[in-house]
């Protein structure tokens, strides 16, 4: 599953960049994200992602690794985890690029994810839609957080 989005925010890249590293604020931007903590600054993080698809709930402790950091313009993120109850293995990689715009910044998000296990029985369509909704909501909340 792959999701790409572009988002314009009305703050300069430097300010946006600072927000991206602010763990408590980022947690509020990601629907279903809890228990986030920094393991190694600017490199390793942990967080739990909980998502619901109709009657089915998925709750995954994720190990997050950040690489290719070029402040304040780009970074890559790898996240991996496993839902013990459903036996679903989740992995995702995200490339994030920030470019200056006349009135602020543009964020480009390229996310690619995989969910392995029985959840696959629901079909790729459900998961793709869920991922799109999640990233769209992230965009809305990120804009509100940095501009607010």
């Amino acid at each position: 599953m792959r999701v790409e989005r572009e988002l314009d925010v009305a703050v300069p890249p430097e300010r946006l960049w600072d927000t991206l590293w602010d763990v408590p604020r980022m947690v509020t931007c990601l629907p279903g994200c809890t228990e986030a903590r920094e393991v190694e600054p600017h490199r390793r993080y942990e967080a739990r992602m909980t998502q619901k698809v109709g009657p089915i709930s998925l709750s995954v402790p994720m190990q997050v690794t950040i690489s290719n950091v070029v402040a304040p313009t780009s970074l890559s993120l790898e996240a991996k985890g496993r839902d013990g109850v459903l036996g679903a293995a989740v992995s995702m990689s995200v490339n994030l690029a920030v470019t200056p715009r006349a009135a602020g910044s543009r964020v480009r998000i390229e996310a690619e994810g995989k969910i392995l296990g029985k959840l696959g029985a629901l079909g790729h369509g459900v998961i793709q839609r869920k991922a799109e909704e999640l990233i769209d909501e992230f965009g809305v909340r990120l804009r509100r957080t940095v501009e607010g």
Binding site: G54, P55, L86, K118, L122, G123, H124, G125, Q128, R129
Partner: protein, 300 residues
């Protein structure tokens, strides 16, 4: 493997709602189990209890009043198929019920269970949209009604609150001089696409049109652009406009890429099947039947 669970068998809707409120996420409603048992066996759903609402007296009742047909939530597909009231008021619904899944599912699966589970690959919600369906929900807090179009929010997602029970779906019977058709296509167990079309004659012209498309996207939808385009068109001219109407439908759907095919494929199939179903409906409106046959297709 099915894990152990507690089975509650309330005898009133209020009692069922109390149980739902008390058990919260630990409980699931059971109204036939053709969907919920599958995800329980797969281990996708972990609940400690099932609340069986099939024992609630009256919840399976089918009634007709003032041009409406009310189907109780725990009426099985088989009951709907054979019910004299359904056959008299909304014969298309009885016809569609006859082709839901397989005989085992039809014998135990229920209308309410089907709608509340909101699997996008399902027939009922699509055909019910063509009858302006309204769902009835009840809890210990009270009762409310909601258009089916608002009830189904997305894939497996509905507007039902945790302590609510879907008690019935109310359909508006089509006016006199209305002919309808439902076509579904699929090579898997569940339909890849379902299209319902109804045409109401007004003299020699089309008075009102209903076009609903389901299964291709996260939820079934009425295609208002296609409906508006056909209103007032002479019956003899409908076939000439069929391609254009099908194109409008193909443009308006929101297809999902999944195991049934890509979004592009489903958009194309929407075009093909809206056209086919419309042509069947218009033939029926003119008093003919087309006896059309297509591979992997059921036309009701």
């Amino acid at each position: 493997m099915l894990r152990p669970f507690a089975l509650y068998q309330p005898t009133t809707v209020a009692e069922a709602s109390d149980l739902l409120a008390r058990e919260g996420a630990n409980a699931a409603l059971y109204a036939g189990g053709t969907e919920v048992l599958l995800i329980l066996k797969e281990g996708l759903l972990r609940v400690g209890s099932l609340i069986d609402v099939k024992r609630v007296p009256g919840l399976a009742a089918i009634r007709a009043d003032n041009g409406h047909l009310s189907i109780g939530a725990t009426a099985t597909h088989r009951t709907v198929e054979n019910d004299a009231t359904v056959r008299a008021r909304c014969p298309l619904v009885a016809g569609v019920a006859r082709h839901v899944a397989n005989i085992r599912v039809r014998s135990v699966g229920t209308v309410g269970g089907n709608l509340a589970f909101a699997d996008p690959h399902s027939d009922l919600a699509t055909v019910f949209l063509a009858f302006d369906a309204v769902v009835h929900l009840a809890s210990r807090r009270g009762a409310r009604t909601l258009p089916l179009a608002d009830f189904v929010r997305g894939q497996y997602e509905t507007a039902r609150e945790e302590d609510e029970i879907l008690t019935a779906v109310r359909l508006t019977a089509w006016p006199a001089h209305t002919a309808g058709a439902y076509a579904k296509f699929g090579v898997h167990e569940r339909p890849t696409l379902g299209v319902a079309v109804a045409l109401t004659r007004h003299g020699d012209a089309v008075g009102a049109v209903r076009v609903a498309v389901g299964c291709v996207g996260p939820r079934p939808q009425r295609i208002s652009a296609a409906e508006e385009r056909l209103c007032g068109v002479s019956l003899a001219d409908v076939a000439r406009h069929a391609g254009e109407v099908a194109e409008l439908a193909a443009r308006e759907v929101d297809p999902t890429t999944d195991l049934h095919g890509s979004a592009e494929y489903k958009r194309d199939m929407t075009r093909v099947f809206v056209r086919r179903t419309l042509l069947v409906a218009v033939a029926r409106a003119a008093g003919r039947d087309t006896h059309e046959r297509h591979p992997h297709t059921v036309i009701v």
